[in-house]
């Protein structure tokens, strides 16, 4: 099982890195500086994807081999930690962006904002997923009867308690990591907006390259938010469902509660839907070709002596 999982994961990572390499090769760059910038962006993304995939694979491998048994809290924050690594790799890539060279340099007097840079739909989706994760974590924390248990009151007044459930024991570290990832994502988008413009290219082409970097950061961020949200929800849904099904075979036999079973099943299906949506948004290519590089950059503005 683990071999198949790791093989499949490596295949996905290899495919993603191959896609990055192919994308870098096919991009039409108007000059050497643009080619250098595209290459830098591709290397940055490759390292970031490797960080993200490496973190997730290590967690899957550790869980599968039993190394992480009993380390549920650690497993819960692995996607966020891998996501933080992914974002940090992007931030480093953008902070070390190749600057202008030559003795004569020029810059356009234009405002570059994060809102004008990041694809609005993707940005909204990412922040929505982050907010949903926070809301879900708080709801699970409030619904829990203990740090990591959930209870239901039986007909005879006794309570039937089951664990593990994503209560505050898991919720607090997940909340902290989610906030860290959200702040890192916002900061990296600002770095992308402020990084040096590519010399000798039109503002449209430069904006396109920034938009591509922002899209990659947002895609990775939403993926880790979706993974964490799906994991927490699946975890919660399974426990709620088990609580509803009760323990008909045990010494303390409990009746079936169809309401709990229904809610648990719905949560599980929602978790799978979120997982699928996150994977789709992260992997499905977007049609956003580079603008025509033949556009000449105007150079008739006044120059100070």
């Amino acid at each position: 099982m683990s071999t198949v999982l790791i093989g499949l994961s490596l295949l996905i990572v290899g495919g993603a890195l191959g896609l990055l390499w192919w994308d870098q090769r096919r991009t039409v760059a108007p000059n050497d500086a643009a080619r250098r910038a595209v290459r830098h962006a591709a290397y940055t993304s490759a390292v970031a994807v490797a960080c993200l995939a490496g973190g997730l694979l290590a967690a899957v491998g550790g869980q599968d081999s039993g190394v992480m048994t009993g380390m549920g809290r650690f497993v819960a924050v692995v996607p966020a930690a891998a996501g933080a690594l992914f974002i940090v790799a992007h931030a480093i890539g953008d902070l070390t962006w190749p600057g202008p060279q030559g003795r004569q340099r020029e810059a356009e007097l234009q405002i570059r904002t994060v809102s004008g840079l990041a694809p609005s739909g993707l940005a909204r989706w990412t922040w929505t997923m982050g907010a949903l994760l926070v809301v879900a974590t708080v709801v699970f924390g409030l619904a829990a009867s203990g740090p990591r248990t959930l209870s239901r009151v039986l007909e005879d007044g006794h309570t039937y308690t089951l664990g593990s459930f994503p209560g505050w024991w898991f919720g607090v570290p997940v909340l902290i990591c989610t906030i860290v990832v959200a702040l890192a994502c916002a900061a990296t988008l600002r770095v992308i907006a402020a990084r040096p413009a590519v010399a000798g290219t039109s503002s449209d082409w430069d904006r396109w390259l920034r938009r591509r970097s922002a899209r990659r950061v947002l895609r990775g961020s939403q993926l880790v938010a979706c993974l964490t949200l799906a994991g927490m929800s699946l975890f919660a849904g399974t426990t709620v469902r088990s609580l509803g099904l009760g323990d008909t075979q045990g010494f303390y036999a409990t009746s079936v509660n169809h309401g709990y079973v229904l809610v648990g099943t719905i949560i599980n299906w929602l978790a799978l839907a979120i997982l699928a949506a996150g994977a789709l948004v992260a992997l499905v290519p977007v049609r956003d070709h580079a603008p025509d590089p033949g556009v000449a950059v105007p150079s008739t503005e006044p120059v100070a002596p």
């Binding site: 202008p100 004569q104 356009e108 006044p302």
Partner: protein, 132 residues
């Protein structure tokens, strides 16, 4: 808005002065309108590959001349002076000088030197009035 500033690292003119002079010229000629936002200090410094302090000084000088105003959370805004009849004649004369310099094949430096010499001949006392 698609206006650019250029700097020459080999020029004897300080970099902040090159940036200041060009933005002031763009405001005067009307390419930058009242209320237009300038890029952040860091963004413009990154684009030009120079220290942020250089751009900050240029913006500070522009602010002192009343051409821009810096507002917290908004950024640096152009506060273009109103085009009045009082400034029309000097602007026309400057435009005439620039056109003549182009026709005669003078470099920008030579044209600037000519203007500086003319200002010198008319005495330094008039300079504070121009700055306001």
């Amino acid at each position: 808005m698609s206006v650019r500033v250029r700097i020459d690292l080999d020029s004897p003119t300080p970099q902040y002065e090159q940036v200041r002079a060009q933005i002031a010229a763009l405001v005067t000629v009307g390419d930058l309108d009242d209320g237009d936002r300038l890029p952040t200090v860091r963004a413009l410094a990154n684009d030009l590959g120079i220290a942020p302090g250089t751009i900050a000084r240029a913006y500070h000088e522009l602010e002192a001349a009343g051409l821009v105003v810096s507002r917290r959370r908004i950024g640096t805004l152009v506060t273009a002076p109103p085009r009045t009849l009082v400034t029309k004649a000097p602007r026309d004369a400057a435009a005439h000088l620039a056109a003549l310099a182009r026709v005669q094949g003078l470099t920008d430096q030579e044209a600037h030197d000519l203007l500086a010499a003319a200002l010198l001949q008319h005495g330094r006392a008039a300079q504070p009035e121009f700055a306001q």
